[in-house]
C-alpha cells in the first residue's frame, strides 16, 4: 500500500502544480478561479449525465492511449491513432449502412469487426513501410492521418450523405448495428464493457505472456532482442497492427454506440489526449485506464467551464500538457 502511495504522490504533485500554474493565469485574466476549478473537477460527479458523459469519453480515450502505449512498449511511436480511428469509423458505418437490414446478432459484430480490421489495416501500412523500407513510423502514421481526413470527407459527402445535416454526415446505420444500451437515460452504451475487457486483455498480454515479454524486450533493446532470437521486425509490425485495431475499435464504438452514423470530425481530439494519457501513464498499460478516466473528467469539466464561465477549453488542455511535463520532470528529480 505504501508503495502505491509513493508511486501516486508524484502524479498528485504534478496535478496540483499544473492546476496552480494555470490557475494563476486564469485569475490574471479576471476569471473566478475557484469556480473554474470546481467546474473542471466536479462536473463529472454532480449529475448522472455528467458521469455518463465522462464514461463515454473514457472509452475512446482509453483505446487511443493503448493504441499509443502498445507500440511504445516495443519502442515505436504510433501517432496515427486519429487516422486509424477514422477509417475504423468509416468501415463500421459502411458496413452498417450497406447491410442495414441485417439483425443485430449479425450486424453488430460485423460493424465492430469492420472497424477493428480497417484500423488494423491503417496501422499495417506504416508497419509495412517500417519493415520493408525502414521508414520512421512517426512520420508515416501522421501522414496517413491527413490522408484519412480526405477519405472521411469523401465518404461523408458522397452517396451516403445525409442531405438534411448542415455538416458532412452520413445517413444512420441500420438499427441492428447499434450497440445495446446499458442505461437509457442518460445514454450509456455497452461499449464500455468492450473497452474494459480489451484494456484488461492488453494488460494481461503484455505482463504475463511470452509474446508480451518479447514486446518489452524489443522496446528495451531491439538489437539485443534480435541477437537472442526475438523476431524484432515482426514485433514492430504486430504492435502497430494491434494498435491500429484498437484505434479502429474506438472508431466503430463511436459509430455504433454514440452517433449511429458517420460524422466528420468524430475523432475529436482523442488522439492528442490519448498520447498525453499514454505518456503520463509512462507506457504502463495498467495505469492507462485510470489516467484516461481522470482526463475524461477534466475534458467534461472543460466544456462545462467554457459553456458556463466563458473560459476557453484550451486552458484545461494546457493543464493536461503541464501535468505531463511535471510528471516527466518528477522522473528526473527522482533520479538525482
Amino acid at each position: 500500500m505504501k508503495a502505491l502511495g509513493r508511486t501516486i504522490l508524484p502524479y498528485l504533485i504534478a496535478i496540483a502544480v499544473a492546476f496552480a500554474a494555470v490557475g494563476i493565469f486564469i485569475a490574471a485574466m479576471g476569471f473566478d478561479v475557484g469556480r473554474a476549478y470546481q467546474t473542471i473537477l466536479l462536473t463529472s460527479f454532480r449529475t448522472p449525465n455528467g458521469f455518463i458523459q465522462t464514461l463515454l469519453k473514457f472509452i475512446p480515450l482509453t483505446l487511443q492511449a493503448l493504441a499509443f502505449t502498445v507500440p511504445l512498449t516495443a519502442g515505436k511511436f504510433n501517432i496515427g491513432g486519429e487516422g486509424q480511428m477514422i477509417v475504423g469509423g468509416i468501415a463500421a458505418a459502411a458496413v452498417g449502412i450497406t447491410f442495414s437490414d441485417l439483425p443485430p446478432v449479425l450486424l453488430l459484430p460485423m460493424v465492430i469487426l469492420a472497424g477493428v480490421l480497417a484500423g488494423a489495416f491503417w496501422g499495417l501500412i506504416p508497419a509495412w513501410l517500417l519493415y520493408r523500407f525502414g521508414l520512421n513510423e512517426i512520420l508515416t502514421t501522421v501522414l496517413l492521418n491527413f490522408v484519412s481526413f480526405a477519405v472521411i470527407d469523401l465518404v461523408a459527402t458522397g452517396p451516403w450523405r445525409d442531405t438534411t445535416a448542415g455538416h458532412p454526415t452520413t445517413i444512420p446505420i441500420g438499427q441492428g448495428g447499434w450497440l445495446p444500451m446499458l442505461i437509457n437515460n442518460p445514454p450509456l452504451h455497452s461499449g464500455i464493457i468492450l473497452a474494459v475487457l480489451v484494456a484488461s486483455g492488453i494488460y494481461i498480454y503484455t505482463s504475463r505472456t511470452t509474446g508480451g515479454y518479447e514486446l518489452v524486450a524489443t522496446g528495451a533493446n531491439p538489437r539485443a532482442a534480435e541477437v537472442f532470437g526475438i523476431n524484432v521486425g515482426r514485433m514492430f509490425v504486430f504492435s502497430l497492427v494491434l494498435a491500429g485495431g484498437l484505434a479502429g475499435l474506438a472508431g466503430s464504438i463511436e459509430v455504433a454506440g454514440v452517433h449511429r452514423r458517420l460524422i466528420e470530425g468524430m475523432q475529436s481530439n482523442f488522439l492528442v489526449l490519448g498520447l498525453i494519457i499514454g505518456l503520463i501513464a509512462r507506457g504502463n498499460n495498467l495505469a492507462v485506464p485510470f489516467v484516461a478516466f481522470f482526463i475524461a473528467v477534466l475534458e467534461v469539466g472543460a466544456s462545462a467551464m467554457q459553456r458556463t464561465l466563458m473560459i476557453p477549453v484550451e486552458m484545461v488542455f494546457i493543464v493536461e500538457a503541464l501535468v505531463l511535463l511535471f510528471v516527466l520532470l518528477s522522473d528526473v528529480v527522482r533520479r538525482r
Binding site: 505472456t209 511470452t210 515479454y213 522496446g219 528495451a220 539485443a224 532482442a225 534480435e226 541477437v227
Partner: protein
C-alpha cells in the same frame, strides 16, 4: 639526484552515485619516465586519468602541474596545459579524414576556407619524427585499428602535449605491433614527453615501464620502481588477499594442461567452408572450416576487426552464412533461426554486451531470461512463470556475485562489470552443449576473470564445447586446447596447445601465412 615530479595528483576522491571509484588516491609522474598504472578492471585507473583529462570532475583532491596547483574543467583545459590522452575506445569521427580528425578542435589557420596545407605539413613532420606513418587523406572508417591508434597518438602529439596518457593501448595490437609501440614510446620519452601507461597486463608494464603504481578497488596499493620488485609482489598487489593465487587459473603457469580432448567423437560444432558476404558484397568470412569436439575449448585469436564478430554471429546462428554448412552434434543447423539454435543447446556471450546482449530498461530478471524465455522452467511456451523466474534470478545473483538490489532492479543501474556478470550467468545457467563466448572477461576484475575461467574449465569436464573468441592472447593461450588465427575473415592456421608460441601466433595475426600447412 631527486627529480621533481612534473605531475602530482593528491588525495583524489571520486564517487558515482553510491559507488566509490577512487578513495584517497595519490599519484605522481616524474619527467621523462614511462609510468605504468596497473590494476584489474574496475580498479579506477581510467577514472583517475579521466579526471586528469577533464572528462570527469573530482569530488576531492588536488592536481599539481610542475609544482603549481591547477584546476581542470574539461579536455580543452587539459590540452592547453599539455596533457593528452589516447582512450581505449578511439574518439574519432568515422567519416572524416585522418587529417580532419587530427586537427579537429584546434586552431586552423584558414578558418573560413578550410584549406589545411599548413596543418598537413605539421602533421607530416610529426609522423616522421615519431615513426607513425599515416595517409592523411584516408577516411577513418577505412583504416585498420593499428593505424587508427597511430592517428589517436598523433592527435595528442599535434597539440604539443608534454604528458601523454595511454589507456590500454595494446588491446588490439599483434605482439609485433606492441613491440613497435613500445619503440615509439621510447622515442617520445627521449623527445621530452612523460608517459602514463594504463594496463591490466602485468607482463607489459614489466617490459616497458620505469615505475609502476598498482591500483585496486579505487586505492593506490603501492608504487615501485620496476627493478625493485618481483612479479609476485605486483600480482599480490593487484588481487589482494581474497584470491588464492596458487589455486587460481588466471595466474597458472601456461605450461599447465587442463585435460585431453577426444577427437574421435562427433564434433559438437562443425563449420564447413563457411563464407559470409556483407550487405555490400564484401567478403567477411572466407572458407572457414573447423571442428570443436566435446570437452574442447577452441580459441580464436586475431586483431579486432578481422571477422571475429562475424564468426561469432554465424556460429551462433544470428547471421546465416552466404554459403557453407554448420552442424551441431551431427545435425545440419545452417540457417536455423536463433531461437531454434538456443533451444537446441546454444549459449552466446556477445562482445558488445551493452548493444547486443543487454536490456537496460528492463529488470535484471527480464535480462536473465532473454533468449530462453520460451523454455522451461521459465515458461510453458505461452505464459511466463514469473515466480520461477524470480527464484532462479536470486540464485544466479548469488552464484555469480552480481551486485544488484534484486531481480526487479532496472538493468540500467548496474555497473559494467555487473552487466558482464549477468551475461555470464545467463550463458552458463542453461548448461548448453555449445558456448560461443566473445571477449567474455572484458570489464571484469581479476577474481571475476578467474571465476569465469573456472566455469569454462568446468565445461571441459562436462564434455561441453566452447568457442572462445578473444583479443586477449594470454587468455587464449592459457585456456585453449587449440587456437585458430583469423585474419581478414580467413583462418590462417590452427595450432595445437603444444605448439603455442606468442610470436608465431602474432605473425599469423598480421597476415603472414605460415610456410607449413595448418595443423588441424
Amino acid at each position: 639526484m631527486e627529480k621533481q615530479p612534473i605531475l602530482e595528483l593528491k588525495n583524489i576522491r571520486k564517487t558515482f552515485d553510491k559507488l566509490v571509484a577512487l578513495d584517497d588516491v595519490s599519484f605522481s609522474l616524474l619527467p621523462g619516465e614511462i609510468h605504468g598504472l596497473l590494476g584489474g578492471n574496475g580498479a579506477g585507473k581510467t577514472t583517475l586519468m579521466n579526471i586528469l583529462y577533464g572528462l570527469y570532475r573530482k569530488d576531492q583532491g588536488e592536481i599539481y602541474l610542475n609544482g603549481e596547483k591547477i584546476e581542470i574543467h574539461g579536455p580543452r583545459d587539459a590540452l592547453n596545459r599539455g596533457i593528452g590522452m589516447v582512450h581505449q575506445h578511439f574518439l574519432q569521427i568515422s567519416n572524416y579524414t585522418v587529417l580532419e580528425n587530427i586537427v579537429l578542435g584546434s586552431g586552423i589557420t584558414h578558418r573560413y576556407t578550410m584549406k589545411l596545407e599548413p596543418e598537413a605539413r605539421k602533421v607530416e613532420e610529426l609522423c616522421q619524427r615519431f615513426g607513425l606513418p599515416v595517409d592523411l587523406d584516408a577516411v577513418i572508417s577505412t583504416l585498420p585499428i593499428g593505424t587508427r591508434q597511430k592517428v589517436e597518438i598523433l592527435k595528442a602529439l599535434y597539440r604539443g602535449v608534454k604528458i601523454l596518457i595511454l589507456d590500454e593501448p595494446t588491446t588490439n595490437l599483434t605482439p609485433q605491433e606492441v613491440d613497435a609501440l613500445f619503440e615509439s614510446l621510447r622515442v617520445m620519452v627521449n623527445d621530452g614527453l612523460s608517459i602514463v601507461f594504463i594496463t591490466h597486463k602485468l607482463r607489459e608494464v614489466l617490459s616497458v615501464c620505469d615505475r609502476i603504481t598498482v591500483l585496486r578497488e579505487g586505492r593506490n596499493i603501492t608504487t615501485l620502481d620496476r627493478k625493485d620488485a618481483s612479479e609476485d609482489v605486483f600480482v599480490r598487489a593487484m588481487v589482494g588477499e581474497q584470491m588464492n593465487i596458487e589455486k587460481s587459473v588466471y595466474f597458472a603457469r601456461d605450461t599447465k594442461t587442463f585435460g585431453e580432448v577426444d577427437t574421435t567423437a562427433v564434433p559438437i560444432l562443425r563449420l564447413n567452408q563457411v563464407n559470409l558476404l556483407s550487405k555490400e558484397g564484401v567478403p567477411r568470412l572466407k572458407d572457414v572450416s573447423f571442428d570443436i569436439f566435446p570437452g574442447e575449448i577452441f580459441g580464436i585469436a586475431g586483431v579486432a576487426g578481422n571477422g571475429q564478430r562475424e564468426l561469432a554471429e554465424v556460429a551462433a546462428g544470428i547471421v546465416p552464412p552466404t554459403s557453407g554448412k554448420i552442424e551441431q552434434n551431427g545435425k545440419d543447423v545452417t540457417g536455423l533461426p536463433v531461437a531454434e539454435r538456443l533451444r537446441r543447446g546454444l549459449s552466446y556471450i556477445p562482445e558488445d554486451r551493452l548493444h547486443d546482449g543487454f536490456l537496460p530498461k528492463a529488470s535484471v530478471a527480464q535480462n536473465l531470461i532473454l533468449g530462453v524465455h520460451r523454455q522451461p522452467p521459465y515458461s510453458d511456451g505461452r505464459f511466463i512463470n514469473w515466480k520461477t523466474v524470480y527464484q532462479k534470478t536470486r540464485e544466479q545473483i548469488s552464484e555469480y556475485n552480481i551486485k544488484t538490489g534484486g531481480p526487479e532492479e532496472p538493468g540500467g543501474n548496474l555497473s559494467g562489470g555487473n552487466i558482464q556478470r549477468v551475461m555470464i550467468a545467463r550463458a552458463f545457467s542453461m548448461n548448453a552443449d555449445l558456448l560461443v563466448a566473445h571477449n567474455p572477461t572484458r570489464g571484469l576484475d581479476i577474481p571475476s576473470m578467474d571465476f569465469v575461467y573456472q566455469k569454462i574449465l568446468q565445461r571441459k569436464a562436462q564434455k561441453q564445447a566452447t568457442l572462445l573468441i578473444s583479443e586477449d592472447l594470454d587468455e587464449l593461450m592459457l585456456l585453449s586446447d587449440r587456437i585458430a588465427v583469423i585474419y581478414r575473415g580467413e583462418i590462417l592456421g590452427i595450432l595445437p596447445r603444444e605448439a603455442f608460441d606468442k610470436y608465431a601466433i602474432g605473425r599469423l595475426m598480421s597476415g603472414i601465412r605460415s610456410t607449413e600447412p595448418a595443423t588441424p
